[in-house]
Symmetry: none
Amino acid sequence: MSTSQEWFDKQSRELVHLESILEMLGWDQNTTMPSSGAGPRAQQSASLAALYHQRLNRPRWSEVLGELESREQDQWTGAAVREMRRKYDRATRIPEALVRELAETVSLGYEAWVAARKESDFEAFRPWLERILRLKRQEAACLATGDCLYDALLDDYEPGMTVRQLDPVFSRLRPQLTRLLGRIQEASHQPPAELLTGRYPRAAQEAFGRNVLSAIGFDWKAGRLDVSPHPFCCGFSPQDVRITTRYGEDSFVSSFFGIVHEGGHALYEQGLGGDRYGSPACQSISLGIHESQSRLWENQVARSRPFWEYWYPKLRQAFPGQLDTVPLDSFLRGVNRVEASLIRVEADEVTYGLHIILRYELEKALLDQDLPVSDLEGIWVERMREYLGIVPGNAADGVLQDTHWSCGLVGYFPTYLLGNLYAAQIYGRARQTFCDLDTQFAFGQYLPLREWLREQIHRKGRTRTAGELILEISGEPLDSRYLLRYLEEKFCRLYELSG
Amino acid sequence: MSTSQEWFDKQSRELVHLESILEMLGWDQNTTMPSSGAGPRAQQSASLAALYHQRLNRPRWSEVLGELESREQDQWTGAAVREMRRKYDRATRIPEALVRELAETVSLGYEAWVAARKESDFEAFRPWLERILRLKRQEAACLATGDCLYDALLDDYEPGMTVRQLDPVFSRLRPQLTRLLGRIQEASHQPPAELLTGRYPRAAQEAFGRNVLSAIGFDWKAGRLDVSPHPFCCGFSPQDVRITTRYGEDSFVSSFFGIVHEGGHALYEQGLGGDRYGSPACQSISLGIHESQSRLWENQVARSRPFWEYWYPKLRQAFPGQLDTVPLDSFLRGVNRVEASLIRVEADEVTYGLHIILRYELEKALLDQDLPVSDLEGIWVERMREYLGIVPGNAADGVLQDTHWSCGLVGYFPTYLLGNLYAAQIYGRARQTFCDLDTQFAFGQYLPLREWLREQIHRKGRTRTAGELILEISGEPLDSRYLLRYLEEKFCRLYELSG
């Protein structure tokens, strides 16, 4: 082994460790940290982020990467080198002072968002959002990846994806979704909104969620489930993957599907394989692929009839008296109820994409300064009316509902919809591979699917790009017709619409 | 501000942040981390520790410290420079090869100790202790602080303390404690051993402990209480201080006094004052002073009659039926029961010092090679008989009971007894300052005492040495008569001994 390779291995492993620690600090802040700790934690995170940045900025990287790139490599080493090149280019192009200012601003900006959302006061958060956008513009200008500022930010979450690719996919899908929503809204058969509300004690919800996580193959020796204001998944290593949810006691729906969603993310992280931890290639491909795993388990699996044929009796047992008068058919319509609603994270499968396209369009305009932050709250309301036909009554249910911008995540939202698109395409292939998938689900068997996903996706780490992976699995490039066909088939049946 | 001062501030702040993060990783491992996470966590911690060491070893430290030491400084800057000098000297005087050999040896030595204690087989641990002592001698020789090898090690835990100061204090105190123990053992009035055992549900213990922590002024916005195998306190910053305990349901005694003990440590950490966080001077003075704060709240406050005049009715309410037949007088004798026992961590206030003095004498002799390791087990038994009148039936209850030596902690034990000595001397002064302290306690008022401690000790950070602080507070240097007087008064009354 050459000296360059040794240096590469040692240095890239150290960087992976520092990334894990930074994530750990964030997890703690969201789940565990006492409130006064925010100030010092921001300083600690900023120092570590700066140190990380310095280590990634060492001049020798350029020489070592150049040398390793000129060699024939096995696919894991090649992927590790590719990934370090991405990181190195991003790091060397952004000055340390900007990194530090961003880290401190988003740490405090997050606290400001928590307070502003509580008071439903967009004006209290507005100056923070302006500061964050100004810094993100600087960051994008330094990166200069793709054709526009937005591409440079998007590339961080979905490597290789561009506005030029996304715009046609999203602008084609948007009217199709709005049309499907319209047909569903006109159906005579509408499940009542309050069908599934009742008394669902938190402890029983948690126990039921844990049972389902165990069944889909979540490894508790390598993971945890906790509570946080906004559900998320963190993998500090494949052996330590933590998910969170939040509970409301009048309904189990939001927390349950939240748990399965984060559980899908966690299966990906745990499936990466601990033996390769420390390599930059032992990581997920992109946020879109990550989201495909959470959506597949949440929607394709856990909102399906066969899934509930097994679990519905157990759910009724877990909450005695709450669902006695609700037959399985009605229950399925209840958990798949389509409704134009205000909150993205509670949106159904049909309207979800519309929420994302709205955010994608607005954040692109904010970044390009085509839309001033002072107009954001108003434009939000207008677009909601246009795409979904409803408007939020306050900022907490509108523009303040998501944490992303407060954390500096601009260019992140489209990956959610990409996740749905990838999920539909991957799941289509899974159904061809296993002709008895419905039977398996109805018997509570989910490990064959988890193993197939592990083999097809998880264990490959970053040795493929998202585009290569989708082609490898489905034999076709990304195609929005998979998602549309899946939605039309499912909801035509549920709402008894004509084909 | 000079360039050297700026460099110093930035670099020392970064090191403080890394220390906080390393502590955070340890806290998480002990309280929260899923079991499979241990391997990757060890790698993450090792990477960060190595990075910390590199940053502390930067050649510019020598020049900057030299320059700042030659200047007049305000007390906070002076203390920060002094503290960085200590850290820098320790980091640079010990060769890397020795650091590595020590780390490897104590890591294996710890495993050997765990196995040896399980089998109660001192011979299995003996070669490891010899190796560890040999390396600690080398470390002490490199450090060359104080008059002897032991001083150099002691200085790491109790800066400025020496064998020359400790020997007369401990050798005077030892026969006095043995004599007091003898008088107590001859008293006709002995509380029964099982007086306070019963059914104490964990949730009620935790709730009661939290109430007491709130009353003594623990700030929940800047702290947490969790569970871990061994109770401890971690301050990641004055705004984020976390303590742990463990619960047994047949008695509340060990967990309750554990909570108050760690709570005392936490009040010190919270009291350091967040505005100075990041300065190396905004830290506790020494382990002995830290221990004085935990002991003062645990013993002087929470084992006193006035304290329980307020809390005993609440304790009875918290555990219905468990203490109905135990009047307050008996209860107080129960929680202050004195007994010659084998295990240090379970020892009462009178015998605790004897356990420490025994360890101090033996580890000093081991380090100086006046005592061969092969004779250690025999000498342990002899001294136990002499000081406490009892002997262990096996090595696990004797020489193998503590983990310290296996972890390379030589010179650490005396800080526990120093904590008791400082606590008595500080508390003596507090009683002169507040003539109505007993009345305050009996009315559940503890904040005046906390404020006084904050002002006298906590807020001063490291601007004083332990010796200076004790002199400043009490008007006298360290004096063991305070502890002896406190113990004699308290236990003569409890055991109805003649003055």
